[in-house]
């Protein structure tokens, strides 16, 4: 894979003011996105996946702010690097939003304006980012509709969102995102609201779009099945931190963090008929408090003493694979991964 970094996040911290308290949503995350790759960010609800990516577009809620760190974007036409964490004015963001980074949201039923034809909504993106107007923009929009696999695009162009099914709407949303001509596409749980057969279609469409438009994709999801299908690399997020990151093979066949183990064990596909499904005990930590040590320790039955005291740094497993767990420290006792890891390695999951 071509190893050109297009986005580089360094030690990012995001906080929210909420009811007089401060919530630490993102706690010092570093992450690189390479050109042309699909990077998946996996984690449970509230782990900060969405907040993390929203900060790339300046779309945090008004009470949220970046308190530390950099987001270096180097995909601009002029080759300059922009620190997105420093952008304050709307005008600066307008050069990034859509034009450099576009976004697809979770629920296609609500992410289109119900009162505008889908054609108008695509044309809006085209006029904004491609300097086309009138008929030329219309032609282009129809082309995009065709690209995302919508039959009879000329006819569909002048229809309203309620005349489309969920899967078709998500295709339209993808068309809008692509019509912005971005470098990076953030997909925030793009298939969660769709049924399984449609999910697969949308995922393969995203892959297609990546090839055709040379996109780098960040895919947010809590569904490891989706990830296995599409991602080149996977970042596992827990309590506002990326605790393990590696290629898909690394994460599925050689996971190192106890949380990743627990996530994989929770896959229903792996369960044995008749046995109770695995679930992670406890609840995620309260992000209003300062977290001591490894955030996952209280829920980890095999946690070491040090896990409760000191936050683990990244340990490198291989050049592509690192994890934040004390288990990787040479001094740590041998804790073997749960049987599920062995099972996946032997091809137990399809």
């Amino acid at each position: 894979m071509e190893q050109k970094k297009i986005l580089s996040v360094k030690d990012l911290e995001i906080k929210f003011h909420l009811r007089g308290k401060t919530l630490n949503a993102i706690r010092g995350v570093s992450l690189d996105l390479y050109k042309g790759e699909i990077l998946a960010i996996v984690g449970e609800s509230g782990s900060g996946k969405s907040v993390f990516t929203k900060s790339f577009m300046g779309l945090l809620d008004v009470n949220g702010f970046i308190s530390k760190g950099d987001i270096l974007y180097s995909g601009c036409d002029d080759g300059k690097t922009v620190n997105l964490a420093q952008l304050k004015k709307e005008k600066q963001w307008l050069k990034i939003r859509g034009h450099e980074i576009a976004m697809i949201m979770q629920d296609p039923m609500t992410s289109l304006n119900p009162l505008k034809t889908i054609g108008a909504q695509i044309v809006e993106a085209i006029t904004l980012h491609q300097n086309l107007k009138g008929n030329a923009a219309r032609e282009k929009a129809i082309e995009y509709l065709k690209d995302v696999g919508i039959p009879y695009p000329e006819k569909r162009f002048s229809q309203y969102p309620h005349e489309f099914s969920g899967g078709m709407r998500q295709r339209v949303v993808i068309a809008i995102a692509v019509a912005c001509n971005p470098q990076i596409l953030i997909c925030d749980e793009p298939t969660t609201a769709l049924d399984v057969t449609i999910q697969a279609q949308i995922l393969s469409l995203l892959k297609e779009m990546r090839e055709k438009y040379k996109l780098s994709i960040i895919m947010i999801t809590h569904d490891l099945g989706v990830v296995a299908n599409i991602a080149d690399r996977i970042a596992v997020m827990y309590a506002g931190d990326i605790i393990e990151i590696g290629t898909s093979e690394d994460i599925f066949y050689d996971p190192r963090h106890p949380y990743t183990w627990a996530l994989l064990s929770s896959l229903p596909q792996i369960g044995v008929k008749g046995e109770e499904l695995f679930s992670i005990q406890g609840t995620p930590p309260n992000l209003f408090m300062e977290i001591q040590g490894d955030a996952f320790a209280p829920r980890n039955p095999q946690a070491l003493k040090i896990d409760f005291v000191k936050r683990p740094p990244y340990f490198e497993v291989s050049p592509t694979h690192r994890a934040k767990t004390w288990l990787l420290d040479p001094r740590a006792p041998k804790v073997s991964p749960p049987p599920v890891v062995e099972k996946i390695r032997n091809g137990g999951i399809r």
Partner: protein, 313 residues
Amino acid sequence: MLKYLVKRIARSFVTLLLILTIVFCLLRLMPIEGYFPNFDKMTEQQIQVGLDEMGLNDPLPVQIVRFFNDLLHGDLGTSRIYRANVAVTEILKDKVPVSIRLGVIAMIVSLLAGLPMGALMARYKGKFFDHLGTVFIVCIQAVPAAVYYLYIQLYGTTAVGVGLLFQINNPKYWILPVISMSLGNIAFYAMWLRRYMVDESNKDYVKLAKAKGLSEGKVMFRHIFRNAFVPLAQYVPTAFLNTVIGSIYIESLYSIPGMGGLLVTVVKKHDNTMVQGIVLLYACVGVIGLLLGDLLMVVLDPRISLTKKGGDR
């Protein structure tokens, strides 16, 4: 669309007929004083002759048929007491246009002021302008209209430089009544538009529009305002009606020769034919208002299905 329109109009028409029939029947139950200006001095015989002349001793169905037949020929009957022996249409002919003119101007003013106000309040939610607007709305809603009407008249007449007696052809004299009449609706439009816009701005499609790279202002105008106006549009015709009908107080305050207050007067005077005529007018305007409101919604919101029952919303 056409099919729906025809259906909808036909239904409105039936509604009107029903209203008229009911009002007509109810008025037949009223004391018969209402047909004679000098009832007290008349003998029983004179009264019976009078009633016979007017056809009021005929059976009810016959009377109803006659009533509708007259109506078809544009005859609303003759006033008996309010202005004895003058046709109702003749009386209304001079008054209705004045009231409607006042209502239309007031509606335009309140839309032109209320909508931008609501939009700006939503745009700067929580900021100074929003608070200022809220104060205005609360004042208008909380203070009885009669109070600020009086103040407007008290200070307005000197400020604008007009006398107390209304001059219909002098635009200056229209200013104060129009302001008095618009204030309530300005507050109404501003309040609801702000509320709907704030609702809309939290929706996903707004986030997507922003993520597309549209500027805040464009998102506000092209997406949020447009969508927030739809639920409001339904009320615009009805609000207009309320201005026309509800101008009783203002018209009497400025001695405007409109039809405000006329209904109350004729009801008090037991002028049954006049009551009938005015109720007919109000019912017409009311039904038309509802019809227009619905049609406006259909035009603005493509999701409202015209042909099928239960459109996808």
